[in-house]
Symmetry: C2
Subunit: 472 residues, 2 copies
């Protein structure tokens, strides 16, 4: 009897285990990978050690790249802040959401609108299966309450809602001195930017000297508080966008000067986050991504970054404007190596959705490709092209190795002439990453292929109503 | 009795051990670190994955850098072949040995002279304590018998004694087509370069399609044959100097095109060498260094390399002409990390001498600094300056972070105007590695410091008799 009872108990136990495992299995697949996006502002392709900078020391980001995947053909969704951020969070080209405009390139403190409520953000998507979601840092998708992160799928927000050079106290400083050497006369209190917690302003002007480390520390706290649930942390630093500010601990530490100090403070925060994940036993089921919103703001000279061997920078549709470091880290999950496949910040939407087991919305066109075959197995992903919009116009398009420039223009702040090319300029970007040697004449058939891809895109394009145009 | 005998035997044995250990100890210190220098030709600062190239895949060199030290302020001794190689092997500026000239920049197949016998090469230095020494690859320090490696301290030579574009079969090919895209009409038999084993020509024209892998395989054989002795292998690839040739195995494999194929074949050879060292148990007592003789030959467009974010290339005294990847590997010995201290190929002479316990020659001025404090302990080394000679003239000088340009001129093959600057141009290279922002006006005191260092150098300079001027 005893034996039989025991046997039955075991049997029942086995059935229970089996049953609960059956129920748990899909839940596990859906919900147990956490996601962290660390998003820098105006950081160039060449600004990290592992991407070739000689004197900016980024040991934590280098480690992420060496233990994970270093992507070398990874793109921001646009070459300036607002549309780039809209692209990342919606998985859609900003021209679809109305977050690209022919009138203004970004939102300003007197802008009336923001990311429309009808857009589905990555946070809203992940909340469908119960993720806890936090936005920490720069938002720049509308600063009015209805546009803030907490009204776009984030449970929590802590940050400055737009660029750190906005709300400048008028008449106080010769702003364009920033085009020259670092200028100690520029103070954080000269920029009256607000710091929000959720929908409330808790500090104004935000103390930008300490903001980078405060952002990283907020991320660490959020991870610790939510370690038992699946979570998504979108950590969007306000820096190294000018004006450059750094905490005392990092001031004067980098051989690269103030810009390097700022990056090394960001890198230090990356180290804290990785350590937290490791200490909490979360490293193997958390994917950490590092990238930036657009290329370096070159007219600011040493206060701007470097695109390395890429041409031009922020605001332009040359490679330096939109190609960025793209680092994916999750020990055991992400197959380590250098990846030269095409990728975009817009792809994070489909990739995280796939990993979390969430269907993609079917009522709209997405520009998002699932990168998980490449991340987990180094297999090819489905992205084969990149569109380079400037505002609402396609300036250039890449298909495979080749990029055609239809229109070219200077970087943000030094716009120069807008040149429409009767015969587009054609480069093989994998052979000629610095965009030096036009091969359009030898390869009309490639130009035609790219033109066909652009025509196909245009034929299905529904433009969202311009959300950037109206200002008070 | 038995016990006593045994005791005595033990005592004697102990004494013998003690005695032989005493004798062995200095020998061990002197002789048990092997040295391998892998020297590329015309490879740019930006041409390796770990130095930021997006599509050239160099997993073995990346591994060397990640497991060892990646130096980011490491310089060749000159901006073209012959003087750069003389500098590395003698630890002296080429102007001292006569291997720099105001008439010709390098040796040619009709040159009469070569590296003078009075110069002490690194091979001769290491032979003082019994090293086995091999030169494999490009020599370019004189092709007549008395100048060949076997008359300069190397036990063994296998290679092409000058550049792979020399001895061109006349009238056969439009050589400057190489300025354009890769040209399949260029064949290895169009370059009648000889391949030597020791002092004998064993193949002419050398089959350049297979030469890269043959060089690496020779190095592997030499290591295996000499694994029980201390050895020094100087493996100087002829490539990626134009004309570019690659073996069938690597043809068409790189996204970067032919230039990438060539580098990936070199990288593959690096992998074979590291594996051999590991398989033979030699990794922990062999230091492997990878660097290049000068920057990329830019006028050859896609057949030349990339200096990454550095300005200009081969032949010039801008950073792109002389700053190179510098990777040091020896697991357990070399402390891993990124190093931005100054270093030069000339420093290998003093560094290897120190490690092998050999005194430096006292009858001549050396330009060689011991880098071992940095390699082993990340302590500062004694090098604080770099002189940028073009031929026999100082064009620029770096002291600490700062570089003054006294004369500037274009790259090799597109010489342009020689400009003597009344006020030198001054850059902070660690802040401004691309040499964009002249700060001479703000820092006359730094210009003066550099000028003082140059004057001190000049006051002691004895110029060697020009060995490059005479041709048949």
């Amino acid at each position: 009897m005893t034996i039989k009872t025991s046997f039955n108990c075991i049997l029942i136990s086995l059935l229970l285990i089996s049953c609960s495992e059956k129920q748990k299995e899909p839940e596990k697949k859906q919900n147990t990978t956490n996601f962290i996006i660390i998003f820098a502002d105006d950081l160039g392709y060449g600004d990290l050690g592992v991407y070739g900078h000689p004197t900016i020391k980024t040991p934590n980001l280098d480690r992420m790249a060496n233990e994970g995947q270093k992507w070398t053909n990874f793109y921001a969704g646009a070459s300036v802040c607002t549309p780039s951020r809209a692209a990342l969070l919606t998985g859609r080209l900003p021209v679809r959401s109305g977050m690209a405009s022919g009138k203004h390139r970004v939102l300003f403190p007197d802008s009336k609108n923001g990311l429309p409520a009808r857009e589905i953000t990555l946070a809203e998507q992940l909340k469908k299966v119960g993720y806890r979601t936090a936005a920490i840092g720069k938002w720049h998708l509308g600063h009015k309450e209805q546009y803030l992160p907490t009204n776009h799928g984030f449970d929590y927000y802590f940050g400055i809602p737009y660029s750190n050079d906005m709300d400048m106290v008028s008449g106080l400083i010769p702003y364009w001195d920033y085009w020259q050497q670092p200028n100690d006369s520029i103070k954080t209190e000269h920029f009256n930017v607000p710091l929000f917690r959720n929908t409330k302003i808790i500090e104004r002007p935000a103390n930008q000297n300490t903001i980078t480390t405060r952002y990283s520390d907020e991320a660490v706290s959020y991870i610790k508080q939510n370690k038992d649930k699946p979570f998504f942390v979108y950590l969007a630093h306000n820096l190294p966008h000018i004006p450059l500010f750094v905490s005392d601990e990092f001031k004067g530490t980098s051989e690269r000067g103030l810009y390097g100090d700022v990056l090394e403070e960001i890198d230090n925060g990356v180290g804290k986050i990785l350590k937290t994940l490791e200490d909490e036993g979360l490293a193997e089921n958390t994917i950490v991504v590092f990238t930036s919103d657009n290329g370096p703001w070159l007219p600011f000279k040493l206060n701007g970054g470097s695109a390395g061997l890429l041409r031009a920078g922020k605001g332009s549709t040359w490679e330096g404007g939109m190609r960025e470091p793209g680092i994916f880290w999750s020990p055991g999950q992400i197959k380590p190596g250098v990846v030269s496949d095409l990728g975009s910040t817009m792809d994070l939407f489909a990739t995280f959705s796939k990993i979390a087991g969430i269907s993609l919305p079917e009522d709209r066109i997405l520009d998002s490709h699932d990168l998980s075959p490449t991340l987990f197995d180094k297999a090819a992903n489905t992205r084969k092209s990149i569109l380079y919009y400037r505002g609402t116009e396609i300036y250039a398009a890449r298909v495979g190795d080749f990029k055609a420039h239809y229109i070219t223009q200077g970087v943000y702040g030094q716009f120069g002439e807008k040149i429409e090319h009767e015969t587009p300029i054609l480069y093989n970007l994998n052979q000629d990453p610095s965009e030096q040697f036009d091969i359009a004449e030898e390869h009309p058939e490639i130009l035609q292929q790219i033109q066909d891809a652009v025509a196909k895109h245009n034929s299905k394009l529904v433009r969202g109503e311009d959300q950037l145009a109206d200002r008070e």
